[in-house]
């Protein structure tokens, strides 16, 4: 224990004593069994209150015909059975077709965005692992997109993407002459690119932050040993850095995936209540199907389908990556 003295311990002491005192009386065995549950309790209660119970209500909503005629008194809303679901997955009818389209757009967008965020974030974190002049400044700079309020950041991009007066067209068309005429970024097919750029710009610093913190936990000795073995810089990155980040990456990628998939703020600020077809992300699509058109039943059904899909993806992902990590460790 003596060696940990140099680490900051001040924070722990008071909490430690308070939590420590009364528990002495409880027999050791019960304490051992009960303690983990006790530690989980606050998280559990809050998750129940704010996520799980509303989620259950949301699932119940998906079986109801919840339009403006009934929102005032949910109990009176008639049961719709599976109608809301049937409507959502009837891909030949316009509603289902639009949902399917929106789903594919979202999948494509999410894969690209998460891939780029992770790649840029990890590369930047590795590049900035050793000290060089200006590292601190650069690190602070890189966190700026993350520190700006979403609305401020996205509205700035809206400003830059404007057709007539925006910076992007000014550079691409006026200054570089890459396009014959100014392009539209906020409507039409290019809106997908615009959305992706904004999402990556805003999202990669988070990957950077998390990977950077993860890198700190890789013991130096590993690198030293590898260097003695004659491994070069690139090999060290491949053989030590990336595998050691396994645990962090597993969660990071999953969470980036889930957020990007469900991201509402970015497309909403970028395109408003009606997104162009090329960038019709599922979150805004569902928002439109429920809040804008006041049909909460159908909106909920779509969300439940989404939840099932994400559960499946997450399950497969965790199974595959956990096995992968176990195999690589063995």
């Amino acid at each position: 224990m003596t060696s940990t003295v140099e680490l900051p311990v001040r924070k722990g002491e008071s909490g430690d004593k308070a939590a420590h005192g009364p528990r002495r009386r409880v027999p050791g065995r019960i304490r051992r069994i009960g303690l983990p549950y006790l530690l989980l309790l606050p998280a559990l209660i809050l998750e129940l209150l704010v996520h799980l119970v509303p989620m259950v209500i949301g699932i119940v909503m998906s079986f109801k015909e919840l339009t403006q005629f009934y929102i005032r008194d949910w109990g009176a809303a008639p049961w719709a059975g599976l109608d809301n679901f049937r409507m959502s997955v009837d891909f030949d009818a316009p509603v289902g077709e639009a949902l399917l389209h929106s789903f594919f757009v979202t999948v494509a967008f999410t894969l690209l965005s998460v891939g780029l965020c992770w790649l840029i974030g990890t590369a930047a974190a590795i590049c900035m692992q050793d000290t060089f002049r200006g590292r601190g400044l650069l690190r602070a700079l890189f966190l700026v997109p993350y520190a700006l309020p979403v609305y401020a950041a996205v509205i700035t991009w809206v400003f830059m993407f404007q057709h007539d007066n925006g910076l992007v067209n000014h550079v691409l068309h006026d200054q570089l002459g890459l396009t014959d005429k100014p392009s539209f970024w906020l409507i039409g097919d290019n809106s997908f690119i615009a959305l992706l750029v904004v999402s990556v710009w805003k999202g990669w610093p988070f990957a950077f932050l998390i990977v950077m913190a993860g890198l700190q936990n890789i013991p130096r000795e590993l690198y030293e040993a590898a260097a003695l073995d004659g491994a070069g810089m690139w090999q060290q990155i491949r053989r030590i850095t990336l595998p050691s980040l396994g645990a962090v990456n597993q969660v990071l990628i999953l969470v980036l995936f889930l957020w990007t998939f469900n991201d509402f703020n970015t497309p909403y600020v970028l395109f408003g209540k009606s997104a162009p077809e090329a960038a019709d992300l599922i979150s805004v699509h569902i928002y439109q199907a429920s809040f804008v058109t006041w049909n909460f039943g159908t909106g909920s059904a779509m969300s439940v389908l989404l939840l099932l899909f994400l559960l499946l993806v997450t399950g497969v992902y965790l199974a595959v990556t956990s096995r992968g990590r176990r195999a690589s460790r063995a």
Binding site: D16, V150, Q250, Y268
Partner: protein, 284 residues
């Protein structure tokens, strides 16, 4: 690596230079646009984009305070985001420690359930959550809707799942020998947590705190229906610069910069903790 006996090869240094320069450009571009636009009169901002402002004015920085109650929104955001971040991290530390260090029944169920809460689109539990808050308010008199408390509670649970998962990862990477040594030395389990595990995982904890703070700082949808004029946060309040008449681009940019400066400064202060991780030889 300073401690590494080999200097990084040239190819690495060049790649790094090019990559970081491009990246900095990408990051800075909108920031430059924000700064330059915030110093232009509105007529210039709505005109053709120019790299160099033809005329500089600080008027937007004066106007921002009277167009919307920016100071109040800022204070609200600061209170909500800080409280949510601190609570979220403290709760997450306990949970992550339990999962990382104990074997107990229901562990998998817990972690999976917590993670699954990230999958439900926020739009759909907005309404149910609002109902629950109203009902709690009616039953107990605790006003959760429209108050900062309700928002804090909501946001802290938004960041909780990921915080727990990340911290489990960070705690797992803290060698168990360390806290076992502490237990042998007579610390209780919580003693081991706070004396050994937490200090060793400071970078992770700081990263998670920053994340929890930013989640609350930027959220738009819930804040738009759960706050009123007195409790409105910045994320929503900034929209006040785009009015029925006009979008005050220069004021939006100025206000965004003004409110972001303290946050970026806070990041700067926290930065050194991000890298002050496991020192070699913590185990002896």
């Amino acid at each position: 690596m300073p401690s590494s006996p080999m200097a990084p090869p040239r190819s690495f240094l060049w790649t790094r230079l090019v990559f970081l320069t491009l990246l900095a450009g990408f990051v800075l571009l909108p920031v430059y646009v924000m700064i330059s636009s915030s110093l232009k009169p509105l007529a210039d901002v709505t005109g053709k984009f120019r790299w160099i402002p033809s005329e500089l004015t600080f008027q937007p920085y004066i106007d921002i305070w009277s167009t919307v109650p920016l100071a109040r929104y800022f204070v609200n955001s600061l209170i909500v985001a800080s409280a949510a971040a601190v609570c979220s991290v403290v709760i997450a530390v306990f949970s992550a420690y339990a999962v990382s260090r104990y074997d107990f029944r229901g562990k998998r169920v817990f972690t999976i359930t917590v993670l699954s809460t990230q999958m439900f689109p926020g739009i759909l539990f907005l309404l149910p959550l609002f109902l629950i808050y109203v009902n709690i308010g009616n039953a107990t008199g605790i006003a959760l809707f429209g108050s900062r408390g309700g928002l804090i509670l909501t946001y802290l649970t938004f960041s909780l799942p990921f915080s727990i998962w990340m911290l489990i990862g960070y705690f797992d990477s803290v060698p168990r020998d360390l806290d076992e040594a502490a237990l042998v030395d007579g610390c209780g389990p919580l003693g081991a947590l706070f004396r050994v595990v937490v200090p060793a995982a400071i970078p992770g904890i700081v990263a998670v705190t920053v994340y929890a703070f930013m989640t609350a700082w930027g959220e738009v949808l819930f804040a738009s229906v759960m706050t009123n004029d007195t409790t409105r946060t910045l994320a929503v309040g900034l929209q006040g610069y785009s009015t029925l008449y006009d979008v005050y681009w220069n004021q939006i940019m100025a206000a965004s910069l003004v409110v972001s400066v303290p946050v970026v400064a806070g990041f700067l202060l926290l930065q050194r903790y991000l890298v002050a991780g496991l020192t070699a030889g913590a185990v002896k």
